[in-house]
């Protein structure tokens, strides 16, 4: 059929010029709104860190041989990455598509659907990588010793952020209205967060839940961040990187597919 043939044609190439155009637009917009955006992304994990650090820290001195405040400090990095990627992917994409008709404008310029959403996800990923470092810096104020591995954290944040940004974009294309994001948040984002080892180790869960956690991308993000800070575990870390790559790839394909259906008649 003519339709599928045409779609495949477009999927083939991602031109750097088109990517750069969309990416530049995001940077221009960000210069206007960076204060509020940064505030939310930094304050929320900080509150988590301080509250859990002091609250639980009074009951639990160490987890898996790590002082609790350092355990939570490294864990909250992942929650900061999650929040700054999945919600940006969901809400921003929905608003730009449905209310602002931004994409109708951009797609009338020499930019195709995959380039558009790849560039937007890339920008969200960069922000997630940067915002993910904030809890780490705060944890250092609470005594987390600096290490070379920490330099990998922004890149772990970017890789994870890519997947969750695409996931958010995908949801933005399948929900019937923005109200439905509440379901996504309750039924998916919260379980992902609690089943990732951000706040407490998952070893207390029944075995089948622990097995389930192996397919939770956020779990692998937490593992990578902790290993980056406290010491690498080459084999399991490589697996985690692979899981996150596959996650980003699958979500990217799903996002582009559903959004193309929404934007191209």
């Amino acid at each position: 059929m003519a339709t599928t043939q045409a779609s495949e044609q477009r999927l083939r190439a991602v031109e750097p010029t088109a990517f750069a155009g969309v990416f530049t637009r995001e940077i221009t917009l960000f210069r206007r709104i960076w204060k509020s955006s940064t505030f939310g992304s930094i304050v929320e994990p900080t509150i988590n860190l301080v509250a859990f650090g002091f609250g639980f820290g009074a009951l639990v001195t160490s987890v898996q041989g790590i002082p609790y405040v350092q355990y939570i400090g490294t864990g909250v990095v992942a929650s900061a990455i999650l929040f700054s990627s999945v919600f940006a992917g969901m809400y921003d994409t929905y608003v730009k598509r449905y209310y602002m008709k931004t994409y109708d404008g951009i797609l009338a310029t020499p930019v195709d659907v995959p380039e558009l959403f790849l560039a937007e996800a890339a920008w969200i990923a960069v922000k997630s990588g940067i915002y993910g470092c904030a809890p780490l810096l705060i944890a250092m104020l609470f005594g987390l010793p600096p290490s070379w591995g920490m330099l990998a954290v922004p890149f772990i944040g970017m890789l994870t952020g890519f997947g969750f940004a695409f996931m958010g974009q995908w949801f933005s294309g399948i929900v019937p209205s923005m109200d439905s994001f509440t379901y996504v948040q309750s039924a998916l984002v919260t379980p992902l967060l609690l089943l990732s080892g951000v706040f407490f180790p998952i070893s207390g869960f029944p075995q089948w839940v622990q097995t389930l956690a192996q397919v939770n991308p956020l779990f692998h993000c937490v593992e990578l961040v902790r290993d980056a800070v406290f010491g690498w575990d080459p084999v399991s870390d490589l697996v985690s990187v692979l899981v996150l790559c596959v996650f980003a790839l699958v979500m990217g394909v799903l996002a582009v597919r559903v959004l193309r259906k929404r934007l191209i008649d």
Binding site: A2, T3, A6, Q9, R10, E15, T17, A18, A20, G21, V22, T24, R25, T28, L29, R32, I33, M100, K101, T102, D104, G105, I106, L107, A108, T109, P110, V111, D112, L263, I264, D265
Partner: protein, 308 residues
Amino acid sequence: MTLIPPSEPALHLRGVVKTFGDIRAVDGLDLDLTPGTCLGLLGPNGAGKSTTMRMLTGQAIADSGEIRVLGHEVPRESKQARARMGVVPQRENLDDDLTVRQNITVWATLLRVPRRSRLAAVDAALEMAQLTDRADSKVVTLSGGMRRRLLIARALVHSPELVLLDEPTVGLDPQVRGDIWTLVDRLRSAGVSTLMSTHYIEEAERLCDDVAVMSHGRVIARGTPAALVAEHAGVEALEFYGPPARLAQIEDTVQPQGFRTRRTGPAVSVLRAEALPLDVVDGLGDGTRRAANLEDVFVLLTGEKLED
């Protein structure tokens, strides 16, 4: 020996069909746009104008038929075509939080204006839209007319060879509409090919070299505004005001003699009035003679009731 290629039309559509479920939005559309001219796409709501526009940018994919834009086959080479055309959407989608200049600059990047000439291109676009002194204002502070001018300027920043204008003056005050007309007229003087959809007849009469009347997804008449008027509505119309009974009586008098009439609210116009026999005219009572216009053609061809 090399063959000189025949000059390629700016737009070339043949047998284009686009359906949405059971609805045939575009139904065997043939359309050509001569380079350097302005073609008006005239038709009631639902005639397929917007769908046609979206197919030209690859934002809607035709079920069948052939579409060439500036010589590029669409949708296969749609991106190359889009790089050479400017699109002014009906539904405004400016970035409210950015300044006027930033809006145009972002578009200059998306439309691939080379970095070294970008500043000059943005300045030229600002100048053309008479927005130079508002360059650093946030878009949210602009009036409706300025926003529309910005929307047009943004689409022209890369000096496109083809411009698509989808209802460029819909919802604007008459004074502001004049400003937009000046912009469009300047495009034509500059030799840019323009396709403009509109349902303001006056707009098409003033700005278009050529008009295609669309109905039910196809072109039902094509020609210069003057030729269309002459062919379908003649030279003059005789217009009568009065209560419905009187209007009906006029219709009953002239229609059996082969004259077409057109109702507009409390009035009825008898078309081709120049050919009415004098004794018939005398019998009709007091009426006003006026020149036939494109609106007469439009209503004659597309019917008095709007398409749903």
